[in-house]
């Protein structure tokens, strides 16, 4: 490292400045040149100047931020902003996009297919988080506090709790496309795992994805919850594990049973995590695109993102982006409602 610095000890270039050397502050022109020069080729007088450090710092900052920001700005931020603009145009992919005001939204309002898909999406948005979070919380509580009482411990986890968490988390590491293909086979009417198992106990299983809307909706909810329960078990048991033991001991001394302890102690203390998880799950349910696209036969059930995608494939770009904007508004409204409903005083512990 130090050799580099010594290598710079060569006389300043002629004509750049006077012969007074280091005493005289280097001129602006020299600084302009120093921006482009690597440190080892920058004259010592310039490098030892106070202003050079600032310049060096900003050069570094700009150099390091430029590419990430360019990628992010061009391919993430700008499409988001464009989407909002294009939702007010009749854009169909070409260079021409005429501003047509709210026509796309009016068209959507009168489009029955939009309402069909959105009713499904909103149902998923409302039901999936509740089912998933209740299951996740139940299993997390069983894991952290379902064990038998041991000497001197108010709560204890069941044996093998990390094994449970590992297995529950399996679906989270698989691609949604693969999950959709797997469950498409599981739900298959004649050769699926589900109807095969029902057959063993003598029940004739329904055609899950065969055409009836309600069975398809149940199938969707099953797949969504199945994918995310493990995630919430890990999330909630981490939150529950950070609750101090003495609070549980106090509850136990006061004679609270397990369910009382859960609703009186555990739930209020992890409420922040629950609320965040609720919003996250709602948005996941609203955005569930791949599962429907891959698993569902086209005529059975559609969700709003799939409806958007079909309009995009037809070349109705302006209309498709306006559907995207509606999805954004839905998720924002949902988040605000949950924040409102779920706000209570934060408990510090």
């Amino acid at each position: 490292m130090s050799t580099e610095i010594r290598a710079d000890e060569r006389p300043p270039k002629e004509g750049e400045s006077g012969s007074t050397g280091a005493q005289k502050p280097p001129g602006r022109l020299l600084f302009a040149a120093a921006v482009l020069l690597p440190p080892r080729f920058t004259p010592q007088r310039v490098r030892y100047d106070r202003r050079y450090r600032t310049l060096d710092k900003y050069r570094f900052i700009v150099g390091f931020l430029a590419i990430p920001l360019a990628f992010y700005g061009l391919f993430v931020i700008s499409p988001f902003l464009q989407a909002i603009y294009y939702s007010f145009t009749d854009w169909s992919g070409g260079p021409v996009a005429n501003f047509i005001g709210f026509d796309n939204y009016v068209k959507m309002w009168n489009d029955e297919r939009f309402w069909d898909s959105t009713v499904t999406s909103v149902t998923l948005l409302v039901v999936a988080p509740v089912v998933t979070l209740v299951l996740g919380m139940f299993f997390a509580y069983m894991i952290t506090a379902g064990g038998r009482h041991r000497k001197g411990q108010a709560v204890s986890g069941v044996a093998g709790s990390s094994l449970y968490k590992v297995v529950y988390f399996f679906p989270q590491v698989l691609s949604v496309a693969i999950i959709a293909v797997i469950w498409g086979r599981v739900f298959n009417t004649n050769s699926g795992l589900l109807n095969g198992s029902l057959d063993l106990v003598g029940i004739d299983g329904p055609a899950w994805l065969g055409g009836e809307y309600s069975w398809a909706l149940i199938a969707m909810l099953t797949v969504l919850s199945w994918s995310f329960v493990g995630f919430y078990v890990v999330l909630f048991s981490a939150a529950m594990g950070s609750i101090p033991r003495d609070i549980y001991e106090a509850a136990l001394l006061d004679g609270a049973g397990r369910s009382r302890t859960f609703f009186g102690v555990t739930l209020p203390l992890i409420w922040d995590t629950v609320r965040t998880g609720w919003i996250y799950m709602g948005i996941q349910a609203l955005d569930s695109f791949a599962i429907v696209l891959v698993m569902m036969p086209k005529h059975v059930l559609k969700v709003t993102p799939v409806f958007l995608y079909e309009r995009f494939q037809e070349g109705q770009y302006g209309y498709a982006t306006s559907i995207g904007v509606v999805l954004l508004v839905l998720s924002v409204v949902f988040s605000l409602i949950i924040m409102r409903v779920g706000s209570r005083d934060r408990i510090e512990f």
């Binding site: 490292m1 580099e4 440190p39 570094f60 900052i61 390091f64 931020l65 590419i67 990430p68 920001l69 990628f71 993430v76 700008s78 988001f80 989407a83 294009y86 299993f139 069983m142 952290t144 379902g146 064990g147 038998r148 000497k151 204890s156 986890g157 069941v158 709790s161 990390s162 590992v166 399996f170 679906p171 590491v173 698989l174 691609s175 693969i178 293909v181 797997i182 086979r185 050769s191 795992l193 109807n195 095969g196 198992s197 199945w226 329960v229 995630f231 890990v234 999330l235 594990g241 950070s242 998880g277 948005i283 958007l308 995608y309 995009f312 770009y317 498709a320 995207g324 904007v325 999805l327």
Partner: protein
């Protein structure tokens, strides 16, 4: 970051299992049985379908259709070779790996560069840049879908490998930068100053001092991005959908699921699913703690 600590704490709690005390309450004993029953039930629910896929991968297509629950009498390994060659799974695996090699390297490099600058330097607009990255995590990708397609088309990188890599990098950057910024903030400042005093340039300090120190954070977010990009379906569907020989693995399997309906080689489909599933599950089991910490931290952004 707190989840990281918490997971390991709860994870280690059952280890200190003491044999049951002399007076285990009756209520607690029944509850124990009850809770184990439910927990085991969900193990069957979570792992059952996956296990069924692996077992079915060894059976012939005829057997699969006639009796979905049966066990195989002989292992039909040829399903796997069919899947690998005829159903192009091998090609899709190579495509996925190629894309991932570029996109993961790019994401980690660019993400850590941006995060380091945001975390360790004060400059006008620092806060704005940070909020820009943090804000990008909240928007649904589906909203950007259509304009993204047009932007990629304008740059002429639609249906190309590097185009897909760039898209992966761009959409992984917000969370990567956000996560690593908080990580770089936790590192001690003294080392960085010492390096500067010794005459190391900013660039050199970053690559030789700060990056090695940030290794735990880089591993967590690296695994997170590995899984996220390996499993990506929406972006390739949008940007890489024309040429079937360029498909990535999830895309190829989804297409295969449709095609096998016409061809009737179900054994190959199940073998393909197994090939796609097992490596990821093995990686997960090896790095379970980091994966769980990384993926749950993603929700609490």
């Amino acid at each position: 970051m707190s989840t990281l600590k918490n997971t390991s704490r709860t994870g280690s709690s059952p280890q200190d299992a003491v044999p049951a005390g002399p007076k285990p309450a009756r209520e607690s004993a029944t509850l124990n049985v009850f809770s184990h029953a439910f927990l085991v039930l969900w193990v069957v629910m979570a792992a059952g379908p996956l296990l069924w896929v692996v077992m079915t991968a060894f059976r012939t297509s005829g057997d699969i259709l006639s009796d979905p629950m049966g066990f195989t009498t002989s292992l039909h390994w040829e399903n796997f070779s069919h899947a690998w060659t005829e159903a192009n799974i091998g090609l899709y695996v190579i495509n996925s790996l190629t894309i991932l090699a570029g996109s993961l390297t790019g994401t980690m490099l660019l993400g850590s560069m941006a995060a380091y600058v945001i975390a360790r330097f004060t400059f006008p607009g620092n806060r704005f840049v940070f909020m820009l990255f943090a804000g990008g995590m909240m928007f649904p990708v589906i909203l950007a879908l259509v304009p993204l397609y047009a932007v990629m088309d304008n740059f002429g990188i639609l249906e190309t490998r590097h185009g897909l890599m760039i898209a992966y990098i761009a959409y992984s950057l917000p969370f990567t930068t956000f996560f690593l910024t908080s990580f770089f903030r936790t590192l001690p400042t003294g080392v960085q100053e010492a390096a500067m005093v010794d005459g190391a340039s900013h660039t050199r300090t970053f690559f030789q001092i700060m990056l090695p120190m940030a290794k735990p954070g880089l591993v967590s977010i690296g695994i997170f991005n590995f899984l996220g990009q390996w499993n990506q379906y929406l972006l390739p569907l949008l940007l890489n959908n024309e040429d079937e020989s360029k498909y990535v693995l999830p895309q190829g399997l989804a297409a295969l699921a449709v095609n096998q309906g016409y061809r009737g080689d179900w054994g190959a489909l199940f073998a393909g699913l197994t090939i796609a599933m097992l490596p990821v599950l093995v990686v997960y089991i090896v790095f379970q703690r980091q994966v769980q910490a990384g993926l749950t931290a993603g929700a609490l952004k």
